[in-house]
């Protein structure tokens, strides 16, 4: 089919729109100037300032810890939900699993704030952030695992049964190895979502606890500083690494916009 010069021009313009702003952020993280306005000279001092910023490091440690725990729990529950939706086609479960994925984040954030403060009378912090992150991640893991199961040939399971395998053995020796790439991709997805989440965390974090996105938010709310560019560049490098890992373990999750 034809790709006319006009189509090329319009398509490349959109790619430019997608990439130029991020390139500007990365470029100015190496700029020897307080202002993100014009290029002065090369420096890595913003990275030095960043690595000496205790608040930022503490927030990063919090984010990492929450992301590891939340994505582990979400992967276990999401895998169960994905298997259940594929095998037994329950009616209520898809509603519970998919609605938090589809609704505006602010609604989940404020309803959890109300729930934690008014009903449980809980001090906001680690636990409330963790519960919120697990809630919105389960759906993404379940979707990926279910898609993986849907693409598989049911006769493999029949063969295992005909050869005398118990259901548990069939699951452990046949199903699990086959859906493992989906589970790994789901884990990486949940991890990225957790470490990136701003909106929901903003409502359920309380005053004592900060995460990396909350720390970035409070910095850019006050003033523009190249330290934000430096932390942004490092975060982008981390995300790229995770995507590279995901494409190794489960290349199909990166294809055709799934």
């Amino acid at each position: 089919m034809t790709r006319s010069p006009w189509l090329w021009a319009a398509g490349l313009t959109t790619y430019g729109f997608l990439y130029v702003p991020l390139a500007v952020v990365v470029l100015f993280s190496f700029n020897d100037s307080e202002l993100n306005a014009s290029w002065v000279g090369f420096t890595t001092r913003w990275y030095g300032i960043l690595l000496a910023d205790d608040n930022m490091l503490q927030a990063a440690a919090n984010s990492l810890f929450i992301a590891i725990v939340a994505s582990t729990v979400a992967t276990v529950l999401g895998t169960m939900a994905g298997i259940a939706m594929h095998r037994w086609r329950p009616k209520l479960l898809p509603f519970l699993v998919l609605t938090p994925v589809a609704m505006p984040e602010i609604l989940l954030g404020v309803s959890l704030l109300l729930f934690f403060r008014q009903v449980l009378d809980l001090t906001l912090g680690f636990f409330s952030i963790l519960a919120a992150h697990i809630t919105f991640s389960i759906g993404f893991v379940a979707i990926i695992v279910r898609a993986r199961l849907a693409g598989m040939d049911e006769s493999i399971f029949e063969a295992a049964r005909d050869l005398g395998a118990t259901p548990w053995r069939t699951f452990r020796r046949v199903t699990l190895p086959l859906i493992l790439p989906g589970i790994v991709a789901g884990y990486l997805m949940a991890f990225t979502l957790s470490i990136d989440d701003f909106v929901i965390t903003f409502f359920v974090a309380g005053v004592g606890m900060s995460t990396l996105p909350l720390q970035i938010y409070s910095m850019i709310k006050v003033a523009v500083t190249p330290e934000v560019n430096a932390v942004s560049t490092l975060l982008m490098a981390l995300t790229l690494t995770l995507i590279a890992l995901a494409s190794r373990f489960a290349p199909e999750t990166l294809k055709s916009g799934q």
Binding site: L7, E158, S247
Partner: protein, 279 residues
Amino acid sequence: MPASFSRLRPSAARLTRWLVTLPPALFLVVFFLLPALIMAAASFREPGEFGGLAPLSEKGFTLEAYRFVGEDVIYAGILAKSFLVAGATTLLCLLLAYPLALLIARSPKRQRDLLVLLVILPFASNFLIRVYAWIIILGPLNLLYSTTAVIVGMVYVHLPFMILPLYTNLEKHDPALLEAAQDLGAGTWTRFWRVTWPLSLPGVFSGAVLVFIPVLGMFAVPELLGGTGDILIGNLIKEQFLDNRDWPLGATLSLGLTAAVLAVAGVSARLTRGRGAAA
């Protein structure tokens, strides 16, 4: 009953089913469904003296928050502005996304995955970083803190949601249709408007919903890029819960947002079904 479970006694099969289904279901009932229902109930309560809700025994249930929202035209105005911003964002996303989606769909098969990956990559960087990028760019241009800045930021943050469903749709089009149109003497524009565009409408609708709905509830983009007048419904909700501490009003506005979201999703589902094809 799936094959691998048919060897189990019926009671054991049922037990397996519950053991797998219940943990995620229970977790989501507690942390998603219950909070949502509590929020609906909170909209009928009175605000507490020091934030939160007033004790039920003292104040009971009331329609006060609804009356308040209904009487003040400011709320209707802000809802209208939210819809306008969401509409403008959706249109601009469509304008930027369509040519790129078409370009990728018409590329040779082996190039497509790479071109799609190039769409997803910037989307994978943190949401705040993508907003921050526009603070740096629009600041020196004197465009920061305006409705224009808000819309540019919204478009940037949500663009992939439009590109991906459009591409998924366009990729499935049969090239023979365009060839047939050409053989019948249709020019480039006619072929696009009479063949490609109508067939791509399911993709357009699903992309539009994926952009429109999150924009409707967004508070961070107006807060970081907008001026003092750029308050959308998301900002209003955030204000009630975190600054004014009028939770019943916040809950009422949240229910309003939920209703708006459901209406948008419903209209889109109807339009898509009317076309008889999924994106």
